[in-house]
């Protein structure tokens, strides 16, 4: 937080001169948020880059007083989140065009299928792989509202008030979405483990 307040006063004084420091301080979190929401590295890098470019364009129009009042962490999270949402919407629209016969839910799941290089592996390999990959894949199966709440709260580590600000939802709603999201993750994880055990003993 301290580095952010130093950063904010630097940004208010000299936007271009201190913007690199902002990028370096926040690139890992914006990239991680995007990666966990989108599931694709290239998409995530583009979304994060786009978010910084938009942040700069916005800051360039702000008076120094307004910059000094900014809460950088949730503000940047909102920007990258909105860009990820529109990317997901475009993806869903493309998928709907490609497979018009599928229901909306199935279409959504369709966008979350493993990448082509993963698809060749047996279904259980996902569980055997690095636990991190497993959790990342399970996270992508959550409904978007839960996914973004869980990512901001527990991947990015924003406080509940910050998540509520970033998502522009009441704090109570956000808490419920995080809890519901974690519960779904737990169920999905245990189900996957159960399947794995059954296949091992079969």
């Amino acid at each position: 937080m301290d580095t952010d307040s130093t950063l904010i006063s630097a940004l208010a004084r000299d936007l271009d001169g201190s913007f690199e420091a902002l990028v370096l301080a926040h690139q890992d979190r914006l990239y991680s948020i995007a990666l966990r929401l989108l599931g694709d590295r290239r998409d995530a890098e583009e979304a994060a880059q786009d978010a910084f470019v938009r942040a700069h364009r916005a800051l360039a129009t702000y008076e120094p007083e307004r910059i000094l009042e900014l809460r950088l962490r949730p503000w940047l999270a909102t920007i990258v989140l909105n860009l990820c949402r529109s990317r997901l919407a475009r993806r869903a629209a493309r998928a709907a065009i490609a497979r018009p016969a599928l229901s909306l839910d199935a279409t959504e799941l369709g966008t979350l299928e493993p990448r082509a290089d993963d698809a060749a592996e047996p279904a259980t390999t996902a569980v055997r792989r690095d636990a991190r990959e497993t959790w990342a894949a399970l996270l992508l199966t959550l409904p978007p509202a839960y996914r973004s709440a869980v990512v901001l709260r527990h991947v990015d580590g924003l406080s509940y008030p910050e998540v509520a600000t970033a998502l522009d939802r009441p704090e109570g709603t956000v808490k419920a979405q995080v809890h519901r999201g974690l519960a779904l993750l737990r169920t999905a994880f245990e189900a996957a483990r159960q399947r794995e055990r059954e296949e091992m003993t079969a």
């Binding site: 913007f19 690139q27 890992d28 990239y31 700069h56 991190r132 959790w135 990512v151 527990h154 245990e190």
Partner: protein, 265 residues
């Protein structure tokens, strides 16, 4: 064997990852806070071209990367990062522009320069390939007829030579004049590569010919104007001044506008 809340939260926190190294550079270049540069082959040898999200910011005949980088930071205040090659679209656009296609759009990053300098460079962009105009012509065309010397200085400060063709601006007496991209020898080479007969231009200038008229159209042009080049030898009428041409009943060409920058005589 259930997964505790703590396990879940740890697993999620562990999904924080490190941004790829290309991310920050991409942002800073896109915003024009940092520039990229790459080598580009031109008729006068290997040149360095620098660019960012706003446009091309420098063209320079730097002997090596370190020299370019320190020159660039001194001139613009921005760091320049090496790239293996120009973006394909930019390389194509530059090649087409150098080939004479003036319609191809090349964005330029000319921040930090004066309005006067931008006006001079903008005007230089209007000179067709294979033609030249005197410094005084630029000065008159931008509404600053007395600023001939300042036009020369502004052309010398052109950060993007070749793309802004300051090599197509010559001295009022028709001699070739100075060139920022490695001296007058290069200027001659580039003009010749663009199809201009530099020797003929200079010998004409030495003999005092400033304008060429056609006795069929009674239109008078600057000697390198494409309209002047179409006049066949039997119909070509040389003039030392526009007053002489006007006296003979000739009107100035509307394309090369020879009256711009004509020294009152």
């Amino acid at each position: 064997m259930t997964v505790s809340d703590k396990d879940l939260e740890t697993a999620m926190a562990d999904l924080m990852t490190v941004a790829p190294p290309t991310l920050a550079a991409g942002v800073l270049v896109e915003l024009g806070i940092v520039d990229r540069y790459a080598r580009f082959d031109a008729p006068i040898g290997s040149l360095v071209v620098a660019w960012n999200g706003l446009g091309v910011s420098a063209v320079e005949a730097a002997p090596d990367d370190a020299t370019f980088e320190s020159n660039h930071v001194a001139r613009t205040g921005r760091r320049a990062v090496h790239a293996d090659q120009l973006p394909e679209s930019l390389a194509g656009a530059i090649a087409r522009r150098l080939g004479g296609d003036r319609r191809v759009r090349i964005d330029l990053d000319l921040r930090g320069h004066t309005d006067f300098e931008r006006d001079v460079w903008q005007k230089a962009l209007e000179i067709p390939r294979g033609e030249v105009r005197p410094y005084g012509w630029i000065a008159a065309e931008i509404g600053r007829p007395k600023a001939v010397r300042a036009v020369g200085t502004a052309l010398g400060h052109n950060p993007v030579p070749l793309i802004v063709p300051c090599h197509r601006v010559v001295r009022t007496d028709g001699s070739i004049g100075q060139y920022s991209l490695g001296g007058p020898g290069n200027k001659r080479t580039i003009l010749a590569a663009e199809g201009l007969d530099v020797d003929a231009m200079e010998s004409g200038a030495r003999s005092g010919v400033r304008y060429l008229g056609s006795d069929t159209t009674h239109i008078v042009c600057l000697p390198t104007c494409h309209n002047a080049k179409r006049i066949t030898a039997p119909h070509r009428v040389p003039f030392r001044s526009l007053r002489a041409a006007a006296g003979a009943g000739y009107r100035p060409c509307r394309e090369c506008r020879p009256a711009s920058g004509a020294i009152a005589a």
